[in-house]
Amino acid sequence: MATLTPTLIGRGAEAEIYSGDFLGLKVVVKKRVSKPFRDPIYNRVFIESRTRTEAKILSELYLAGLPVPPVFLVDEEAGVIVMGYVEGSRLSDVLGGLAESSIKKIGWSIGKYAALMHNKGVYHGDYTLANIILTSSEDLVIIDFGLAGYSNDIEEYAIDLHLMSRSAEAMYPELAGVFTRSVFEGYLEYSEVGGDSVIKKVREIRARGRYIEREVRKAVLREKYVD
């Protein structure tokens, strides 16, 4: 670690983010930290298990060709991952300023990448606009796999799509329709796990929220619900 002289560049929901230099490569050091408002046992469990999960899944997806940062070093006990640096902006900050054609293209890719992850039995767990980096060449990089996991349950896959569509609705209500449709299109094109049933499940999850009208809930379950 001698070549690492990390400087703090940001703070996420659960980690401090440092940038540094590792054998001449620009890297990010993600250090999960204890929270003063969390029980010490939870602090330890969260830091270790999420660091382990994130490192494992990042490595697997990177080797499979998905656009995620490569992992260089992991220290589970310290909650540290050293990974490749990604230059760009969080999609949650910039989506509103993009042309409709770009939004469609980005949405489509986000759907495609979700399908490719799910085809490998991996779900992201926090698939929102904030966890997609848009690079200057309009490429996407998916980050923050702390809540990710392995599952064959399409519910977990549907939650990824649900979160993405709802984060768009909350942040950019006027674009959310176009965006989400593109996400679904990209997803359907690449899904090998039954894309239709995943998207049906997305509607079902949405209908589980509090105070949804009974009729809507029933209609969703009858498959006759139209957006």
Binding site: F37, A170, M171
Partner: protein, 358 residues
């Protein structure tokens, strides 16, 4: 903090008004029957009255028809006390507001019937109010916050929301039972309640003090959504094995509380990261829980945010929040004819647009 007599600057956009206005608000969505009276002067409001009466089940949980009977029984005296406190006659009230949902049907109908009557008999404009929106608006009024990340937790709601394009947008919510409901159900099933709250402290909080030990329980956060039913089942299963062991039950309560609050904090953190908001506003009945307030205070300091937790008088259900939100609606001309007013048991926070939102 007593709100009666206090004056607040309205933190949202309202159309210019010449005269001063008095609005009476009625709350009856669940266990509380409340009447609030508020007075508008230019861009500020003064609290004239906030009177409540709560239905407290002798055994079990809230029985909707028993609660509605309670409301019918106390309605007259609560309205009268509110008018007396305010020192106004019903004739000088300029509009009547009522919470039409979400809530329990029989309870909602008591408030709606009373509001329709006052409106029709004294010829007062009638305003329908969303109960959830009212919780948030009163929180914004008292805190002076303009664009907060809203965390709304009560017996019937658990959600995180922001405002965008004239609407509240839900970022995360419970996919099964609400947080307050979880704590109440647990306390009831293990024999700690009713009463659920004694001198401001919930039965689970009291029990949690019997132990400082902690054991991890199912922690179900799905992105920004929460699920509490598996946690409830697991905690109840453990409690059944405790068989009167006070220390063990204390440990379960302590762990249950720690787990639900951490789940809530987790989705709050994620929503803060997504939205970049710099203010956190905690509203709803569970917002008066001291343990949770303390955690949110530390959370806000950690992220350099401003934090405000609504005080008990307005955290729980109350008529004042209905009066204030009714006033905002009234200023934008949103009135209903008595014959058109209907209750809406399922009335989502993100269903309608509100002209005063950014």
């Amino acid at each position: 903090m007593m709100l009666r007599g206090r004056q607040f600057q309205i933190p949202v956009q309202i159309p210019p008004v010449k005269d001063h206005l008095i609005v009476l608000g009625i709350e009856s969505t669940s266990h509380t029957f409340g009447v609030g009276i508020i007075e508008l002067n230019n861009h500020s409001v003064r609290v004239l009255a906030n009177v409540s009466s709560q239905y407290k089940p002798v055994k079990g949980g809230i029985h909707p028809s028993e609660a509605s009977q309670h409301h019918v029984n106390v309605a007259h005296s609560v309205v009268k006390k509110a008018l007396d406190d305010a020192g106004v006659d019903v004739k000088s009230v300029n509009a009547v507001a009522v919470a039409v949902g979400p809530g329990l049907g029989p309870c909602l109908r008591v408030g709606a019937t009373l509001a329709r009557f006052i409106s029709a008999y004294w010829n007062k404009p009638l305003v329908a109010v969303n109960h959830a929106v009212a919780h948030i608006e009163i929180g914004k009024l008292v805190s002076g916050m303009v664009d907060p990340l809203v965390v709304y937790i009560s017996g019937g709601n658990t959600l995180v929301a922001i405002q965008r394009d004239k609407k509240y947008r839900v970022l995360g919510e419970t996919l099964d039972i609400p947080l307050g409901n979880l704590l109440d159900t647990f306390a009831r099933e293990v024999g700690l309640a009713p009463p659920y709250v004694v001198s401001g402290k919930h039965a689970v909080d009291v029990c949690a003090e019997w132990s400082s030990e902690f054991t991890p329980l199912p922690f179900t956060v799905k992105g920004s959504d929460l699920s509490f039913s598996g946690l409830l089942t697991a905690a109840l299963r453990m409690a059944r094995e405790s068989k009167g062991d006070r220390a063990l039950l204390g440990k379960i309560c302590n762990s249950l509380r720690e787990t639900v609050f951490n789940m809530l904090i987790e989705v709050t953190e994620r929503s803060l990261m997504l939205t970049g908001k710099k203010e956190i506003l905690l509203v709803g009945g569970v917002a008066s829980n001291t343990t949770l307030r303390e955690k949110f205070k530390v959370l806000a300091e950690f992220y350099g945010c401003r934090y405000y937790g609504t005080p008990p008088e307005i955290a729980g259900d109350n008529g004042l929040m209905i009066a204030y939100t009714g006033l905002l609606s009234y200023l934008y001309g949103r009135t209903t004819r008595p014959e058109d007013l209907t209750v809406k048991q399922r009335f989502r926070l993100d269903e309608e647009t509100y002209p005063w939102l950014p």
